[in-house]
């Protein structure tokens, strides 16, 4: 059952081949036995899951149940789940049990999906390797001495190890796409404002976006149908009809113009990755697409701009974690300032503390114009690059990451080396565009991801092209050793 896609599971549930309870129990068992090897799931909600599964079975029997009714999923531990710990991978929220649901969680609940538990992540979504979690690192199912990517490393590893057929995740600078690439699965970060941020703990408000991870583009479409909604509790959410992303998966790619940015194929890109990505592009060309070389001249500025804007916004977003009203409070605070600084120093890990300091620096008096002000202008230049490119192409494609999954600790000493893992992904967050990663090969026996960048609200086309690619290839069917049995 764990080798079936969500689309196949839905068919199975609707034709009564198996029940949601059976399915749920199966995945709970898998998590029980396999998770210790990967540490992908940090909270398992077995009781609630079985209860929801039983209710789903009733709805399925009655007929006319929503598409995802009875389908088990995992939520990244950044989405608030009512009555269930939501830790954001941090000691600061280790004891935080929210009395409310994120809108994304609510959407899945309404649809009758079954929540198996919460997945591990880089602390407060700050990281590209899932090495900063308070709950320990996540291991890449393809190479357990290597990172799964981050910050949604838990969701990616869980899907790759088939502990769940799908999981929710978030992407601020590449945190869905990069782990999807390193774990050989599919993931999409929608257009900024497509998915509600209510109840999704904020890292960098103008960049954060929630999205699905699954093994196929079709499954991502099914999940995105549920995740995307207009929410009037989120002022940055855009009121625009959500299409049925599964209805347009079958269109041909003939005539599709694919932009290939020359800046994404320069030095620093692993040769094995380049080979796999170019092969994928050739495949699409053979299917009738046209490859167009384009230039995104300000690409080199995207990492610096991102590492000003994201920490700056985060430094303010994380000020609420002060030991006063919820979360971690240090023992025996001697006065108010001691409570603040010790709760935060003891509750936050080192990377989070560093980013808060960077963010504070970039916003401080005398530096605002040079850093934050400047970065926001550069952001506009980056958006303009994309606007210009989309005048002559329909989609932009390239590698998701410059290198395959690296060994634990390999980049821990050099923050900049770690930040450069995001080199191909951050620009899309800065511009607010949708971005996706799908598996397209192997390099050094580790998965390689193909990134697809679309114009605003063009997720349907992206999923369509990804699906067409997956009809013609089978990279997405591969499983890490020992997982598919």
């Amino acid at each position: 059952m764990h080798n079936l896609t969500i689309a196949e599971l839905i068919k199975g549930l609707q034709s009564k081949e198996f029940s949601s309870v059976e399915l749920t129990q199966h995945f709970l068992n898998r998590i029980g036995s396999l998770n210790p090897a990967y540490n992908a799931v940090i909270t398992v909600t077995a009781e609630q899951a079985l209860k929801a599964a039983a209710e789903a079975d009733v709805r399925l029997a009655a007929g006319n149940a929503p598409a995802l009714c009875g389908v088990p999923i995992l939520h990244k531990d950044i989405f608030c789940t009512n009555g269930v710990r939501t830790s954001c991978g941090s000691k600061m929220l280790d004891n935080f049990i929210p009395p409310y649901n994120a809108t994304v969680v609510e959407n899945f609940e309404q649809a009758g999906a079954v929540v198996l538990g919460k997945t591990n992540m880089d602390e407060f979504a700050m990281g590209s390797s899932n090495e900063t979690s308070f709950y320990g690192p996540v291991k890449n199912p393809w190479a357990p001495d290597c990172v799964p990517g981050g910050s949604s490393g838990g969701s990616a590893a869980a899907v790759a190890a088939r502990l769940a057929p799908g999981a929710t995740a978030t992407d601020t600078g590449g945190s869905i796409r990069q782990p999807a690439a390193l774990c050989g699965i599919s993931g999409i970060k929608p257009t900024y404002g497509r998915v509600s941020r209510w109840g999704m703990v904020a890292f960098a408000s103008s960049l954060d976006q929630g999205g699905p991870m699954a093994r196929t583009a079709e499954d991502c479409a099914l999940l995105l149908n549920c995740m995307a909604s207009y929410d009037d509790k989120d002022s940055t959410c855009i009121d625009r009809e959500v299409p049925d992303y599964t209805a347009t998966l079958d269109g041909s790619v003939k005539g599709l113009r694919i932009g290939v940015p020359k800046e994404y194929f320069s030095e620093g890109l692993d040769a094995g990755i380049e080979k796999a990505v170019r092969a994928a592009l050739a495949n699409l060309e053979a299917q009738g697409a046209e490859l167009v070389e384009i230039s995104l001249p300000n690409s080199g500025l995207s990492v610096p701009a991102y590492y000003v804007i994201a920490p700056a916004e985060a430094s303010a977003n994380l000020s609420r974690f002060d030991g006063s009203r919820y979360g971690y409070r240090c023992g025996n605070p001697k006065d108010l300032q001691d409570m603040y600084s010790r709760s935060r120093s003891e509750g936050f890990g080192k990377e989070v503390q560093r980013r808060i300091l960077i963010g504070t620096y970039c916003l401080s008096a005398g530096y605002y114009d040079a850093y934050y002000g400047k970065a926001q202008q550069v952001r506009k230049l980056i958006q303009q690059d994309f606007d210009r490119a989309f005048e002559s192409v329909d989609l932009i494609m390239g590698p998701t990451c410059p290198s395959p999954a690296f060994k634990f600790g390999a980049k821990s000493d050099d923050p900049v080396a770690m930040y450069l893992e995001d080199i191909y992904t951050v620009a899309t967050n800065l511009a607010g565009l949708p971005g996706m990663s799908i598996p397209c090969g192997m390099a050094d026996n580790k998965p390689v991801g193909l990134q697809i960048i679309g114009n605003y609200f063009d997720e349907a086309r992206m999923l369509n092209v990804a699906h067409q690619y997956q009809q013609a290839t089978d990279w997405h069917d591969l499983a890490p050793e020992g997982v598919a049995s």
Partner: protein
């Protein structure tokens, strides 16, 4: 660019984060290398470029002035570190 200890102490105070004496140099080193990265922005000519705060040209939605929230004090304070008589307790605030 090298970030001075004094500067870091100021930031740490503003951010209410205590930095261990023993880790000061590590923090300084790391911050400095990140700042080297972001200093690359200085080389760009952005004259006349509008700062972008949001990817969309969207404008703020306005909410009707009607009460929609009920009293949930019990639920919220059940997860609070310290409360008394409905108040959140913190070490004394000295004005």
């Amino acid at each position: 660019m090298n970030i001075e200890r004094q500067e870091i102490e100021k930031l740490a105070t503003l951010a209410r984060i205590a930095i261990d004496d023993s880790t000061f140099s590590e923090v300084s080193q790391r911050l400095s290398s990140v700042l080297d990265l972001v200093d690359q922005l200085q080389a760009v000519n952005t004259e006349g470029v509008e700062a972008m705060s949001h990817p969309m040209q969207a404008t703020q939605r306005l909410r009707e002035d009607e009460v929609t929230e009920t009293n949930q004090r019990e639920a919220f304070q059940a997860i609070a570190p310290e409360t008394e008589d409905g108040l959140f307790l913190v070490p004394k605030v000295i004005e």
